[in-house]
């Protein structure tokens, strides 16, 4: 994998912050569309993003029509990007974003300023660590997230523990299981606080196959141990009964959040509850020279979905450079009128103005905070625009189609409602 650091230029047409699947896809597509200077700024010594440390398949079906492991997939993406003559700057962190497309960077050579006509932000997501979950206990060694575990196992060939407990049952929690299996780590148990496994697929079978018991309705109460983890106190959410599981580590898996701190401390708008970037159906931010794409806009989707996002966003950025996007001055904010909804994306819709405007996303994507069952709808002052019944778990994708925008009044107020059944 290439690890040379190209020095960043002073100016470019499009700067892309983050060299994961979304950023690399957007960069390659923009070059193919004929944009002259496209620069990817990646803070790690290697591009490729999260897949670099997902040592298991399946990656690449959508992009390459083949199944790869994560690291192999990441290498293919980088090859493609370099073949398209994208400027790839590694070991390059963006430290602040300013109006006018100005980016402050730091590299091993020190500080640097870059000015871009358009900027795409795709800095990805990460898991919620123990601290932000306010879990009780001391701070022994052996507490990780899936991401940290995978990087240790697949990138550095090291293990932080031998018999951990895995907290969570999202798709990524099963990646944690696979990573453990790979490194001959034997998880003691997998914990899920609700009554059903969160992940959608056949992965329900996986823990059984690997001989790892799954405890449903079980919540972490306290981490035990001073130097290293010696156990975890858990509680049955139904009976309130507590017990101790002996283990030497914990993996806090999932509960993804956007890695959007750059945006939070900039002039760009983020959702105050989740930190997700506020965008319109083109991925355009509150400052129309900036776009956001990839998983940071919708924690969490697969690499393939983020790659598609990147490609789509490249087309929107291209159109924006030629003035063909819907009107940035006529944007309707979509309000959310339900405490059960964790987030929606996009959070605003730009009205097309005329028929020649480029089409954007077709759906509004939502996530719920808790298991939910009921009727979801989008309304304007003149009545219901779209509606559907849903039955969902937290962290699962829910979609609602975006209504025909040409019919919307610029003064309409849009609201998403959810009525529990």
């Amino acid at each position: 994998m290439i690890s040379r650091c190209e020095p960043p230029p002073r100016r470019c047409d499009v700067a892309i912050i983050g060299g994961g699947p979304a950023g690399l896809a957007a960069a390659t597509e923009l070059k193919n569309l004929g944009i002259a200077s496209v620069v990817v700024l990646e803070r790690e010594p290697q591009a490729g993003g999260i897949p670099r440390h997902c040592g298991h398949p399946p990656f690449g079906m959508r992009e390459f029509k083949r199944i790869y492991t994560g690291p192999h997939y990441a290498r293919r993406l980088v090859e493609r990007t370099l073949n398209a003559a994208v400027t790839l700057c590694l070991d390059t962190s963006v430290v602040s974003i300013e109006a006018g497309g100005v980016l402050q960077l730091t590299t091993p050579m020190g500080l640097h300023e870059l000015r871009a006509t358009r900027v795409i932000i795709c800095t990805g997501i990460r898991e919620t660590p123990r601290a932000a979950r306010l879990v009780s206990g001391q701070r022994p060694l052996g507490i990780t997230t899936t991401g940290a575990l995978q990087s240790m196992v697949y990138l550095q060939h090291k293990i932080p523990f031998e018999k951990p407990v895995i907290v969570g049952s999202e798709l990524v929690s099963f990646s944690a299981l696979l990573t453990c299996k790979h490194a001959k780590i034997r998880p003691v148990a997998m914990l899920e606080q609700y009554s059903r496994i969160t992940a959608r697929w056949g992965s329900q079978l996986l823990p059984g196959m690997l001989g790892v018991p799954v405890h449903l309705n079980t919540r972490v109460v306290e981490i035990l141990g001073q130097q290293r983890v010696s156990g975890v106190k858990v509680c049955d959410t139904k009976t309130g009964k507590a017990r101790v599981l002996e283990c030497d580590g914990l993996v806090f898996s999932g509960q993804f959040i956007a890695e959007s701190s750059l945006m939070r401390s900039s002039h760009l708008q983020t959702d105050p509850q989740t930190g997700n970037p506020v965008i319109d159906q083109y991925g355009r931010c509150s400052d129309p020279e900036f776009f956001a794409t990839g998983n940071m806009t919708h924690p969490v989707e697969t690499a393939g979905a983020c790659w598609s996002d990147g490609v789509q966003t490249a087309h929107h950025v291209y159109a924006s450079l030629s003035g063909l996007l819907g009107r940035q001055d006529q944007r309707l904010k979509i309000n959310v009128a339900s405490p059960h909804i964790k987030y929606i994306v996009p959070q605003m819709l730009s009205l097309p103005g005329n028929h020649t405007a480029q089409a954007g996303m077709k759906n509004i994507s939502l996530r719920f905070k808790n298991p939910s069952h009921g009727r979801l709808s989008m309304r304007s002052h003149s009545g219901e625009l779209v509606t559907k019944f849903i039955h969902t778990l937290p962290e699962r994708r829910v979609k609602l189609s975006i209504p025909e925008l040409l019919t919307l009044d610029p003064s309409a107020s849009l609201e998403i409602q959810f009525r529990e059944k």
């Binding site: 690291p71 192999h72 020190g110 060939h157 090291k158 293990i159 130097q227 939070r264």
Partner: protein
């Protein structure tokens, strides 16, 4: 009893010392600096793998003026003296200072009534610039505060400092000027023969003329072990904190203090030198002297408390949580006692102001020591060490050429900084030690991005390693 020999031990003598300091917390570090700069040959013994690992590892990092200390107490005089010295030496030691000022806020009429007494005490303690401030003026200064507040007192010279680099550089200066530090070394027993102390430690016997106990949470136990009595009992009092991410920093400027009660200074909200905001501490009596665990319910109540004072905190993510244990005693004041017949000085019960008072405590103890007849000749030239800069007010390594790239992205810690902290005169000996020298893994992701790299970089440096080797893995 024989006449005690008070001649100076030569520095080249590595088996005998003028002074043995037990404990390298805030107080031990400042003590080592003071005695070394006065010319004494000093050995510091610390049982933990690294320094600042007891009471001193978790505090609010406020440089107190002493405005609310009991007037004429030892504590108050140490704080006052320490404050002046800190301001004098901090530039030479490249120590940061956040000139925040503090607001003591009353949230009820009852509390507002007590402001008078607080102001009077402040003036009595020589903090003349403390003043009343009305609700309107407070909100103008700090627009994010809840408008439920009644009134307050402005204390302009209460500041925030760097809680780790400060003691670290005190100890480093002592070492660079000739002091020795043994870490991972526990004092188990000792005998005074009328001339010399012989201390039995987990790393063998050491000899010194005078022993200074700066054992913090274990001060009473060490006194018992060495001189068979102690003038105080430690009553550990835990304090938990929440750390909010960088984006919360803009929400306030001043240190927000409550009207204190008899037991505690109460929950504080302030900026940190590392660009964050903290809310805490709680005040929980406990038996354990080393269990600094956090607790979900307490943390949630801190969250609520914080949001009731600054409502916008509701939308700020919490990065980290931590707890510290105060070495409180049955007394309100510090317990500093010189047993002149035993060449033993016990510095105990430095409860909740040790960061502010450490330099003053060390000066006071030295004055007392030399008054008992010991004298040293200070070196002609004092060395002032250079340390890595980890506070946000300083120029950080990531801004400089040749930094070798960032490893910890959240806190922007470079590869060069980590290498430097693992080597040098007082290398980090544990992950916690490395954190306190560099801030590595202490940000919002808590090691999600960097712990793998870190586990490789630190291989072989720590007793307790972050990870282990396993069979091996081949991609594809």
């Amino acid at each position: 009893m024989s006449q005690i020999d008070k001649t100076q031990v030569r520095e080249s003598d590595s088996s005998r010392y003028d002074i043995i300091i037990v404990g390298a917390g805030l107080v031990g570090c400042a003590m080592a600096r003071q005695f070394t700069l006065e010319g004494a040959h000093v050995l510091v013994i610390e049982k933990a793998a690294d320094i600042i690992d007891g009471a001193s590892k978790g505090n609010s990092a406020i440089l107190h003026t002493g405005f609310d200390a009991p007037p004429d107490s030892v504590e108050q005089s140490c704080i006052t003296q320490s404050y002046q010295e800190f301001i004098q030496i901090r530039k030479k030691l490249q120590l940061p200072l956040l000139k925040t000022g503090a607001l003591v806020l009353a949230w009820s009429d009852d509390e507002a009534d007590r402001l008078d007494g607080i102001l009077e005490k402040a003036h009595q303690n020589g903090v003349d610039d403390a003043k009343f401030i009305g609700a309107k003026a407070i909100l103008k200064k700090e627009p994010q505060l809840s408008d439920q507040l009644k009134a307050g007192i402005h204390v302009p010279r209460e500041y925030v400092i760097d809680p780790w680099t400060t003691p670290f550089v005190y100890m480093l200066q002592a070492i660079e000027n000739g002091a020795r530090l043994k870490r991972g070394c526990e004092v188990q027993s000792g005998k005074f023969d009328g001339q010399w102390w012989k201390l039995e430690t987990s790393q063998g016997t050491v000899q010194g003329r005078t022993v200074i106990s700066c054992a913090g949470l274990f001060g009473d136990l060490l006194d018992q072990q060495l001189i068979g009595t102690s003038a105080f009992h430690i009553r550990p009092r835990k304090g938990q904190f929440l750390v909010y991410d960088t984006s919360a920093y803009r929400l306030l400027h001043s240190i927000i203090l409550p009207v204190p009660n008899e037991i505690t200074k109460g929950v504080v909200i302030c900026r940190t030198a590392f660009g964050k905001v903290i809310v805490g501490p709680t005040a929980e009596e406990q038996e354990s002297r080393d269990d600094a665990s956090v607790d979900t319910a307490e943390l949630e109540s801190l969250r609520e408390k914080g949001e009731s004072i600054i409502p916008a905190l509701k939308f700020e993510p919490v990065n980290a949580t931590y707890a510290g244990i105060r070495p409180a005693t049955e007394f309100k004041d510090y317990c500093i006692k010189h047993y002149t017949d035993k060449n033993y000085i016990s510095v105990g019960g430095i409860r909740s102001t040790g960061l502010s008072a450490a330099l003053g405590i060390a000066k006071r103890v030295y004055a007392d020591y030399s008054a008992s007849g010991f004298n040293h000749t200070p070196a002609d030239k004092i060395k002032w060490p250079a340390v890595g800069q980890i506070a946000e007010t300083q120029i950080r390594d990531w801004q400089l050429q040749g930094n070798e790239g960032i490893v910890c992205h959240c806190e922007r810690v470079t590869r060069r900084e980590i290498k430097a902290a693992l080597t040098g005169k007082m290398p980090a000996a544990s992950l916690n030690g490395l954190k306190r020298r560099t801030r590595v893994t202490m940000g919002r992701c808590q090691g999600f991005y960097c712990s793998a790299q870190l586990s490789v970089m630190t291989e072989g440096y720590f007793d307790q390693s972050i990870s282990f080797q396993y069979g091996g893995y081949k991609d594809d």
